[in-house]
Symmetry: D2
Subunit: 351 residues, 4 copies
C-alpha cells in the first residue's frame, strides 16, 4: 500500500498515519520529495485500513501496489534514488551524470591496477572495479587474489581517490570486503543467493546487483527487494546480458530491460556491455545503445594488456580503446539529456 | 574466395581473372569501390587456383572466405551496400541518413493509411509500411485486406510520393505484391521459407528480410545468402527481437546483432523496436539504442488510433508519439555520426 | 462452443441443433463416439444461444471452449483421432500401436532408399520417411532430388507396401507431392507458413506437422487449427526439440510437450528423437523416454551409411542400430500400455 | 591424464606411478574396478610424462582428458559411482535399483512430514526429502522452518529409518544441516555458488546437486568438479528442467541431459519431474520418460494436501497419486533393465 501525502504535511499527521498502519501490523517507509511525501507500507493490511487512512488529514491518495516487489517499486518513493559510492563527495549514480565504472576483470597485481585506474580516471571513470574473489566455472581457473586483491584496491583508492567496487561471493566475506570496498557487488551467479542478499541488506553500504544470466526482470527486482527488506537503500541494478540461443555473443544484452526497469523501480540502472557481448569490439556500440536507451551508467572491463589477462581478456578494452569509447559516448549522453563526468581534461578545456 | 584488385585494374585483366575462375567451375561477382575492385568467387575451387590468381596482373590479394555465407560477407564487396526503395530518387537505406520506415501494422482502410502516411512523412519517414497479407497465429484473426490493401498502398504512394514496403507470405504472391510495392518484406516466420527466398531473389526488387524470432545471426545471413545467390542485390536486414524466457516484453531486442551484422555483412541493418518490445512505451528507448549502436534505420508501427487497431495495437504509436520519437532521435543520430532525413519542417527551419 | 449429446440422439435432433447454430452464423463439426456425440461450433455466437441449445432434446451439456484453438481441442471430439497413412489398410497412428516412421533424412538414390526401407520394415517400421525437397540453411548445400526423389519413394512403396511421408516446402508443391506421398510433412521451419498450412488443409491427405524450433505448444496447436479450419482431419503433431541455450545437443527435446499435447488435443502426438538430440547415440534413450511419456509414435532417421549421408549423418542410425532400438523399445511400449507393430519376425515367433 | 592399469597391478607398481606423477606436481586419484585399475591425474603435467608413464610395468594406456572436467569424467573411474545415503545399509543411488526420493517441498510441521514419509515409504521411497531452509523468490514468502524443520526431519528418520535429504543454502549452514541430514542438497539457484560448493566438498557427506535453470550440462559437471576437487566422492546430479520460452510448463525437462550425463560422468543421475513441469498432472509422464531414458532415480514432491501447501502446491502429488505413479513406474523400470525398490507390499507379494 502506498500513501501519497501533500508535501506540506506535518509531523503529527505523519505520525498519526504511521501509527494506524503499525497498529495493523504493517511496516512503514517514509520518502520525501519536493512535491509530495510518500509512505510505503508493507504487511498484510486489511481492506478497511485503506479507507481509514484515506480520510486522515494530509493524505492525497492511497493505492495498493499490485507488483510482488514493493520497496523497490517506483510508487514507493517520491523521487528516484541516487546512490553515492565513496561517501558524501563520492561518485553518484542515478543523477544527471552518466556514471562510468571501469577497471580490470580481476585484480592481478598492484601495478596493473594502478595503471588501469589512472588511465580510466583520466577520461572520466568515477569508480574503479576489480575482482578479488572471482567466481569461475572451473575450480582449476584463477580464483582471484583474495584479501591481497582487496588491499591493492584500497591502496589504489588512496592514491587516486576513486571509490572501488568489488564482488562479494559469500556472506562470510561481507565484513572483510566492506572493510576495503565502497560498494559491494553481487555477481550474476549469486543474484538469487538469498542468504547473501539478506545479510548484505543489513550493512548500510551501496550494493551493485547484477542480473542473473537467466533471471527475469521481475526476479531481479525481487532480489533487490530482499536487500531493501533488510534495510539497504542504495542499490544499483545492472543489466549484463541474458542467456539465449545466440552464439555470436557471450550473452544477449537485453536492452529493453533498461527502460522497463527505469519504469518499474526508483533505483538506478546501469549496463555492463563487456559481459553482455563478451567481445571487445562490441563494447562501444552496446555502451552507446544502453545510454541512449536510458542507462544511468556503464561498467566496463579495462586491462592494460587484454591478451595477458587472467580472466575475460576477450572482452577487455585497452585504456586507449576505453578513451575512444568515452569520446564517442559524450555526444550520445548529451543527446539523451545526460551529462558526462568531468575530467581533468574537460576541466582544462573548459578553462 | 575473394580477389582484391587495384582500383586501376583494366578490363582485360579483370576478364583474365574471371576466365580462370570460371574455367574451374566458379562463379564471379564484381564489385567496384573507390579504392579497390573486388571479385568474389563462389564454387568448389581447388587449392592451386589461389596461387595462380595471385600471380595475375592487378591482383593485390586472394583470400578464402571462412564463413558459410559468401555473397553477403563484408569481404565480398568493395563498399557497403546502399539500398534505394522507389527507384533512383527513392529513399536510401544504408548511407549516412537514418531511414525511417513507418506505418500501420495492417492496412485497415484507405483513410487510416492516408492519415498515417501524411503524418509520418511530415516528420521524416521516407518509406511507408503496411501489411496487406498478414501472418496471424490464429486462423480466426484478421488476415489482412489482401489485394485491396495493396491498392490502398499504391494509392497513398501516388498521393504522397512515399515508396511502400509490404510483406509477401508466399512465392505465388510475389508478382502481385511486386506490382504494387517498392520493397518486399519477408516476415520473421518466413525467414527460412527457402522457396520463397529463392524466388524473391530472382526478381530485382529490394527485399526487407526480418530475422526469425529464434534465428541465429548466422542463419539470418544465410537467408540473405539465399536471396543473393539468386541474383538479389538490394537486401535490408532487420533485427526485430528474439524469443527468450523474459516475459516483460514480447521479444528481446538483440542489440548486439546490429554491430555484429554491420561487421559481418555489407548489407544495411535496421531495427524494428515495435515488434521487439511489443509495448508502445518501449519503442522510443529501443529506437534510440538501436541507432546509437549503429542501425541504419528503423521500422516503426504507427496507427491513428492504436486502441482500435485490428492487429498489434499495444505496440503502435500515435502520430504525435512518433513525432516525439523522431525529435528525440535527431540528436542521437547526429551523435552517432548520422544524418536525419530532411522534412518540410526541417527545410523550413533551414530557410 | 461444445455441445455434448447423448449417444442415442436422433438425426432430427441433431439437425435441429445444427440449424440453430447455423442460424446464428456458426459452423458445426459433428463427432460420434461410443458414449457420446459431440457437436463443436465455431463462430461468434451470442450468449443467449448457449441456454437455448441447452434446452433442446438430447443435449447433455453446452460449454464454451476457452482456448484459442477449437477444432484441435480435446473437447471438440468424442474420441481421440486415429490417423491412417496409406488408406484403409494403411498404418495407423494414434491407436494402441506405436507407429514407427523411419528412413533416410534425404532420398539420395533408389538403391539406398530400398535398402533402408526393407531393413526398417523388417523390424516394424510402418511408414517410410525420406526428403525429396530439403530445406537447408545454406543455398550451397544439397537441396534434395526433387521430383526424382518422389519417384523413388513411390517405387519403394510399390515394392514394399510401406506408405511414405515426405516434406512439402511450398504451396505450389502440394499437388506434385500429393501425387506420390501418402502423408505430407510440414517441416519445423514452415510451421507458421500460414499460406502453406491453409492450402494443405484443403486437400484431404494426412499431414505430419512438426513443431517449430521456437514455437510454443500453443502455437503448434494453432498451426494445426489452420489445417483443420480448412478441412483437414488427419493431422499428426511431432515434437522434435526446441531451441535453447544448451550446446551439447542440437535441440532440446521438450518431453513435457507430449503429455501436454495429449491432454490439450485429440490429435496423435509423435516424437522425432533424431532431430531433437542431433546425435545418433541419443536417439534410443530419447525414443524410449518419449514413448514412456505417452508418445503415439516415433520418427527416426536411418541411413545405410551415416558417414556418407548428404544431410544429417551425425544423427542417423544404421539399420542394425535401428533394430536394436526397436528391440529395446518393445518392453517400454508394453510397460506404457501400448502394442508394438507386428513384423514378419514377430509373426514367426508367434507361430 | 588417465592411466589405465591391469587389474592385477601390484601396490609397488602403483606407488611407482603415483610417485612419478607427483614428482611432476600432479595429484592422483585411484579407482579400482573388477577389470581394471584407473589412476586419474590432475595438474599441469608436461608432455613427456605421458610416454614415461606408458612404459612403466602394469600400465595399459595413458590418455589425456580433453574435457574441462576431470574427476567427474567417466574415464576417471573404473566403475560407475554408487552413492549411499544413510550409511552402509542406506539407500543406494546409481546401482540397478531405481532410487525414489519423495516428500514435501517444505517441512511444514511434524505431523504432515510423518504422514508423508510413512505413505511414500510404504510404496518404495527410500529417501525422504523436505526443505527446512527454502530459497524463495520473494522475501515475503514462507522461508522454511529452519532448524525446527531439521529436527522434524531427524525425528521422522528415527521413526521410519528413512535417510533424509535437505537443502543447504549457505556455507555457514553446512555444519548445522549435516548434523541432521544424510544427504545435503544444493539447489538450482546455488549451483554456481562456488564457495558453498568448495566447502561442501570438504565434508564427506553425499551431495545432491541440482542443475541450475540456465546451466549447461558442462557447467553442471564443472560444479560437481568443484565438489570433487575438495574431496567429495558421493555426488548425485539432478536434472530438474531448464528455462526456455515455453510457458505451458514451469521449466522444460531436458531429457537429453540424462543420457548425455550418463555418458560423460560416472556419477549417478536423477530427475526431478515436479520442478521440471511444475504441474502435478505432468509428474508421472515425465518420471516415466526420465527412467526410460536412463535416470537412476527420481525426486518427487508429495504433500498430504497440496492445495494447503505453503510452497509448490501446484506440482505436489497426494500420497495416493504417488502410489499410482510408482505402480506405473514398475514395468517401465523393468523394461529399462532396472529394479524397483522393495517395499513391505512387494515383500508380502513375494512371500
Amino acid at each position: 500500500m502506498v500513501i501519497v501525502c501533500q508535501a506540506t504535511i506535518g509531523e503529527n499527521e505523519l505520525d498519526l498515519i504511521r501509527e494506524r498502519v503499525e497498529a495493523h501490523g504493517g511496516r512503514t517507509y517514509l520518502s520525501r520529495g519536493a512535491e509530495k511525501v510518500i509512505i510505503g507500507c508493507i504487511g498484510d493490511l486489511h481492506e478497511g485500513l485503506e479507507a481509514e487512512i484515506n480520510s486522515l488529514p494530509g493524505v492525497e491518495s492511497v493505492t495498493k501496489v499490485q507488483t510482488p516487489y514493493k520497496l523497490v517499486a517506483s510508487q514507493f518513493r517520491a523521487e528516484r534514488t541516487i546512490v553515492r559510492a565513496g561517501g558524501r563527495d563520492g561518485t553518484s549514480i542515478g543523477g544527471d551524470e552518466i556514471a562510468l565504472i571501469a577497471g580490470p576483470c580481476s585484480v592481478e597485481g598492484l601495478e596493473m591496477l594502478r595503471e588501469t585506474a589512472t588511465a580510466v580516471q583520466a577520461v572520466g571513470a568515477g569508480i574503479l572495479r576489480g575482482g578479488a574473489f572471482k567466481p569461475r566455472t572451473s575450480p582449476y581457473s584463477f580464483q582471484g587474489l583474495g584479501e591481497r586483491g582487496l588491499e591493492y584496491l584500497a591502496e589504489v583508492r588512496r592514491e587516486t581517490g576513486m571509490p572501488v567496487v568489488t564482488e562479494v561471493m559469500d556472506a562470510r566475506q561481507i565484513d572483510l570486503v566492506a572493510e576495503y570496498a565502497d560498494m559491494l557487488q553481487v555477481g550474476a551467479r549469486n543474484m538469487q543467493n538469498f542468504t547473501l542478499l539478506a545479510e548484505l541488506g543489513r550493512i548500510r553500504r551501496p550494493v551493485l546487483l547484477k542480473r542473473g544470466a537467466s533471471a527475469t526482470i521481475e526476479e531481479l527486482l525481487m532480489a533487490a527487494e530482499y536487500l531493501m527488506a533488510q534495510g539497504a537503500r542504495d542499490i544499483i541494478l545492472c543489466e549484463r546480458g541474458i542467456r539465449t540461443f545466440e552464439r555470436a555473443t557471450r550473452n544477449t544484452l537485453d536492452l529493453s530491460a533498461i527502460p522497463v526497469l527505469k519504469e518499474e523501480t526508483h533505483l538506478p540502472v546501469i549496463a555492463d556491455p563487456s559481459h553482455a557481448g563478451g567481445r571487445a569490439d562490441l563494447v562501444a556500440p552496446l555502451a552507446y545503445g544502453a545510454v541512449a536507451a536510458g542507462a544511468d551508467g556503464l561498467m566496463i572491463e579495462v586491462h592494460p594488456e587484454p591478451e595477458q589477462a587472467l580472466s575475460d581478456g576477450d572482452q577487455s578494452l585497452r585504456p586507449a580503446e576505453f578513451e575512444l569509447l568515452v569520446e564517442g559516448l559524450r555526444p550520445i549522453a548529451e543527446a539523451a539529456g545526460r551529462r558526462m563526468p568531468f575530467t581533468k581534461a574537460t576541466e582544462r578545456d573548459a578553462a
